[in-house]
């Protein structure tokens, strides 16, 4: 594994091990992002509940937390999931939750959040402090 100096082409993702090391439960944060309907339907479900999620393109099934599945399949499709008023880092975090944490470059994030220049996003994500576990994906090799 190697970590080169990140550029606007470097892919980032949410590093779940960072959450574990911080002793924080990302599912608590996920629950806050549920839309009113999903919040109601999952009100009594434990955070650990897993469900099958079907990929919209390949129909491949993956087992994911029920709250995360709700975000990906329902809540993230609603217009108020990412709004212009949200802080940049929160928008980026929500983008990763919505896309199943598929790695995205700074340029790709810039296209999706459409807020700040790519260089600003790069500075924010690399200036030292790690926000919400968003880190460069280590390259193998």
């Amino acid at each position: 594994m190697k970590l080169l100096r990140p550029t606007v082409h470097t892919k980032f993702h949410i590093d779940f091990s960072w959450w574990e090391k911080q002793n924080k439960d990302i599912r608590v944060l996920m629950r806050e992002l549920l839309c009113p309907e999903c919040s109601e339907s999952l009100r009594d479900a434990p955070d650990t509940q897993m469900v099958d999620m079907i990929d919209p393109e390949t129909a491949e099934v993956t087992r994911v937390y029920a709250v995360w599945e709700a975000i990906r399949s329902c809540c993230s499709l609603k217009p108020d999931y990412i709004t212009p008023e949200l802080p940049l880092i929160e928008s980026i975090f929500r983008v990763f939750l919505a896309n199943g944490n598929k790695p995205l470059s700074i340029l790709e994030l810039h296209e999706r959040v459409d807020k700040q220049p790519p260089e600003t996003i790069l500075r924010l994500l690399t200036k030292g402090q790690i926000y919400k576990g968003i880190k460069p994906v280590p390259e193998s090799g």
Partner: protein, 569 residues
């Protein structure tokens, strides 16, 4: 109507999003090279890949070949074999079936499938009541006549295949790339140092560039190898040897010896490299814009101004300035470049024919660096001064050019002569006579070139700023006129006696400094007490509020080479 299932290779998504070069593709190309034993260009390789992908798809789609096409709505049994088009037509066996767990999708089951070439099973939805894109795409029907051929697919998506295939081949040491052709390293006949020595001797003896087929008449490579493979291997070896220089490319490539090439052709003479560069966006008055166009200095012709497909021309008029005269080079201005029907190589041999005498003069053209070489003796023999108007015309073939100048009555005139005095450039007036047509403002007799050489400053050398140099040289020129006038073109010509500079940087300094003022007919004056005043806005540069001259000319200013608000003649 004949109905059939939709092929993935017929979709834009397949080529634009999913297509990647796999190990099987490379192996397929490897086999093809062995079979054909010929170098191939990337287009041919791309077409083979597309053909192969289509063929594989046809095989997979053929009835009962490997199993049913997977669709999320169908029910499947353990042991059943399925084909997964989105996984590059991988086949897989159903290992287990379990009930699905997500109320969002209603009732469905989950099949566990072991795909070929994968170590761990994947899970897929089955018996899915909800709509899914795979149900639609697999069942999508189309007329067989609507299926695009590999050639048609190549027309539409070849650019993507080309890009990804090139990247994959570049990372594979078994493939060699040279002059747009790919070949297998293992199929190339060995070219030894002995072969290369023969090639060197042949070129040295004939003193002209030779093609690979000409060289192979004496460079003997194994007879069992195809001619194209021999030519490829020889040229590849020549390209790796510093003794040889490729002239031209592709089928027209010829080879020459580096040590036979003039140094001024191998490397751009430093006298032609601008010390002060034209950037674009410099503010110039309308009149100075017109002078820039008249002078046509190649250093002012920015890449951004080059027209993609300029209309060809039959002749070009070129003003000779000192650096080109000293180097025996001819500037290849935008107008001169239009004489070239094609540019066969970075540098190539040409023949200049003296329009008047018919004398043939061997020369070279280096279009990318905007100069031609080989005219030093011709300039000297015809006593062509700085400021001469040279005419270049197309010859009978693409590599022949007629060169000449307009001859007039020999007239004695008072002209500026450069002199080096106390390590400074000075000027005096002398009577001289020339028979050629010239621009009277650019015309300067350079006096002793050797003395000027001592003052020459190359690009990259420590040098005063252009403004400082202008304030040094302007008064020297102004002494020659009773009113202290200096024509802008004369200043440009004089600056180029000791350093290379386009007209634009010089004229931009005149425009923005209050110590220079235009007083009509292209003439400028200098007021030393204002040398620290700089105009910063276009309005100031135009109206020149610090000027004390009654004869000041107010002229609008425009940015140079700016498409929107620039000067339009």
């Amino acid at each position: 109507m004949i109905l059939q299932q939709k092929r993935q290779t017929q979709t834009a998504d397949y080529w634009l999003q999913e297509f990647a070069v796999h190990k099987e593709d490379i192996e397929y190309l490897y086999d093809w090279f062995v079979e054909e034993n010929e170098p191939q260009n990337i287009d041919a390789l791309c077409l083979k890949i597309i053909e192969q992908r289509c063929k594989r798809e046809e095989e997979a789609l053929s009835k009962g070949s490997k199993g049913a096409i997977y669709q999320p709505r169908e029910k499947y049994e353990v042991g059943q074999r399925l084909v997964f088009p989105l996984f590059d037509y991988a086949t897989g066996e159903v290992l287990a079936v379990r009930p699905g767990n997500n109320p969002r999708y209603g009732s469905f089951s989950v099949i566990q499938v072991q795909l070929e070439n994968e170590s761990t099973p994947r899970e897929f939805a089955a018996e899915l009541a909800q709509d899914h894109v795979l149900n639609r795409s697999a069942a999508l029907l189309e007329e067989s006549t609507g299926v695009l051929s590999p050639e048609q697919l190549y027309q539409q998506y070849g650019h993507i295949v080309r890009e990804r295939l090139q990247e994959a081949l570049q990372q594979n040491a078994e493939f060699v790339h040279f002059n747009g052709q790919w070949f297998l390293r293992g199929l190339m006949p060995e070219v030894t140092p002995f072969h290369l020595n023969i090639a060197e001797a042949m070129i040295d003896e004939q003193r002209r560039p030779l093609s690979a087929s000409q060289l192979l008449q004496e460079v003997e490579l194994p007879a069992e190898v195809s001619d194209s493979a021999k030519a490829y291997a020889l040229q590849y070896a020549l390209s790796q040897d510093a003794r040889f220089v490729e002239i031209g490319s592709g089928e027209k490539a010829t080879w020459y010896l580096a040590n036979l090439m003039p140094a001024s052709v191998l490397h751009k003479p430093m006298r032609l490299v601008p010390l002060y560069r034209t950037q674009g966006g410099e503010w110039l008055s309308r009149e100075l814009h017109e002078f820039v166009a008249e002078i046509g200095d190649e250093a002012d012709q920015l890449e951004t101004m080059i027209v993609a497909a300029p209309s060809p021309a039959d002749s070009a008029q070129i003003l000779l300035i000192y650096p080109h005269r000293r180097e025996g080079t001819l500037p290849l201005t935008a107008q001169a470049l239009r004489l070239l029907p094609e540019i066969p190589a970075e540098r190539f041999m040409v023949t200049f024919i003296d329009q008047r005498t018919g004398e043939e003069i061997p020369g070279w053209m280096v279009p990318a660096e905007k100069y031609a070489w080989g005219l030093e003796e011709w300039y000297r023999r015809h006593a062509l001064p700085i400021g001469s108007v040279i005419e270049l015309r197309r010859g009978n073939d693409p590599f022949t050019f007629l060169i000449g100048y307009e001859e007039g009555k020999r007239r004695r005139e008072w002209i500026k002569e450069a002199k080096v005095f106390n390590n400074r450039l000075t000027f005096s007036i002398q009577q001289k006579a020339y028979t050629c047509r010239y621009d009277k403002h650019l015309l300067i007799d350079e006096g002793s070139s050797e003395e000027l050489d001592r003052l020459w400053v190359n690009a990259g050398d420590p040098a005063p700023s252009l403004f400082d140099y202008l304030t040094e040289i302007f008064p020297e020129l102004a002494k020659l006129s009773g009113q202290g006038l200096v024509h802008a073109k004369a200043l440009y010509s004089a600056v180029n006696l000791t350093r290379r500079c386009g007209a634009v940087p010089i004229f931009a300094e005149l425009t923005r400094h209050a110590c220079f003022d235009p007083v009509g007919d292209g003439n400028w004056v200098y007021e030393e007490s204002l040398r620290d005043v700089v105009y910063t806005t276009p309005e100031e540069m135009s109206k020149r509020p610090s000027s004390r001259r009654q004869d000041l000319i107010i002229d609008r200013v425009y940015p140079y080479a700016a498409s929107n608000e620039g000067y339009q003649p």
